[in-house]
Symmetry: C2
Subunit: 192 residues, 2 copies
DNA sequence: TGTACATCAGTGAACGCGCGTTCACTGATGTAC
DNA sequence: TGTACATCAGTGAACGCGCGTTCACTGATGTAC
């Protein structure tokens, strides 16, 4: 073979990574195959040797975006801080608002996913269940078993809603205030 | 004149109304000028006699969508229900999830607005301030003055986040559960 | 060791299509005389 | 009252462009003999 073993798989992975950043930054509809391939250092014609359609790439890039943010190493817990509070503050920090291309895929893509095909929505659903489950595990012991999942959904709802609102408003001071209000709301919901 | 007085203004209004539904249903990027004009019973060439660009229509249609949902008549208060609880339950009901074309413009368009030009984002900001202000007024008397706006932002954050998540997931039972979790979270945040 | 051939990731021209935008034109009506 | 002209909302062809997708081809390398 003209290319070392694993070459094609590495190229495919590179396309997915580029796409996962571009889709989160500019939206799925605004990003074309040719642009993604060019960013990956390739020409557009080769795309269909790797994926069956743009929709397939959307689904794979979305899942990759979720997985890469899930796998991100966490900073150490500060004294008196618990894991859930760290998660909430990390999510609703200005740096996350300002770098959607490396941020939460749910916040960047939720509205578009609602208009995509069932396979993409099912993949989204699975990733969302994962996030909600991890939040539920981090709730304080005092929260009743039956209420944990519902509480976790509410917490993630504010996180996602506040992050999106902070990205949309034109007023920087209001944007910062939205992040802070989201933190306070999420922490209140997390109380036992 | 060949047309009665007010004819052009009425046409313009019709274009805005069609666009405000189509943008909320399918997203701004996926809706073309020609389609909007055809839905309004016109051909696409006349568009630029009414608007300077698609972006101008986006901004006007978004504002119209906000205003029409704000102006919607409210059902009567049930015994023991307050105005804020009615607002929250009305927002997070299945019918709202299932009819984005007549629903909350913020939930439908927030992600796209973040990528649009400053004039559109400023219009969005103003409308959002209006919604937040109205929620703040409906908070119980016990909520301290200084905390009212922040609390209102948190409440609208869960409402918007939960509605969007309920629209994106593929599992109907989970979608219903998200709406219910959003209601519980918003009500908890509204407690004095 | 040297030559012929097979492999296949990637190339780039081409497909039909819809986009946002421009513009010369139409044609029904109101006004001027 | 009758005719000529002005008005202007709306029409539809055309512009350049980028989209997703297809496909015949390239060319560097590995294998066969």
């Amino acid at each position: 073979m003209r290319f070392e073993k694993g070459h094609k798989a590495a190229t495919r992975q590179r396309i997915i990574e580029v796409a996962s950043e571009r889709f989160r930054k500019d939206g799925v509809a605004a990003v074309g195959i040719a642009g993604v391939m060019a960013d990956a250092g390739l020409t557009h014609g080769g795309f269909y040797a790797h994926f069956g359609s743009k929709e397939d790439l959307v689904r794979e890039a979305m899942v990759a975006a979720f997985e890469s943010t899930n796998a991100r190493p966490q900073s150490a817990l500060k004294p008196g801080e618990n894991a859930l509070e760290r998660r909430i503050r990390g999510y609703l920090r200005p740096a996350h608002r300002d770098t959607p291309e490396r941020g939460c895929a749910a916040a960047a893509l939720v509205a578009e996913v609602a208009r995509h095909d069932p396979a993409t929505r099912e993949a989204f659903t699975g990733e969302l269940e994962g996030i909600v489950g991890r939040i539920a595990e981090q709730l304080p012991d005092g929260v009743a078993e039956a209420a944990r999942k519902s509480t976790a959904i509410g917490i993630f709802g504010v996180m996602l809603g506040a992050l999106q609102l902070s990205r949309a408003v034109a007023d920087p001071a209001l944007s910062d205030a939205i992040l802070e209000s989201g933190i306070q709301a999420a922490l209140k919901l997390a109380e036992a």
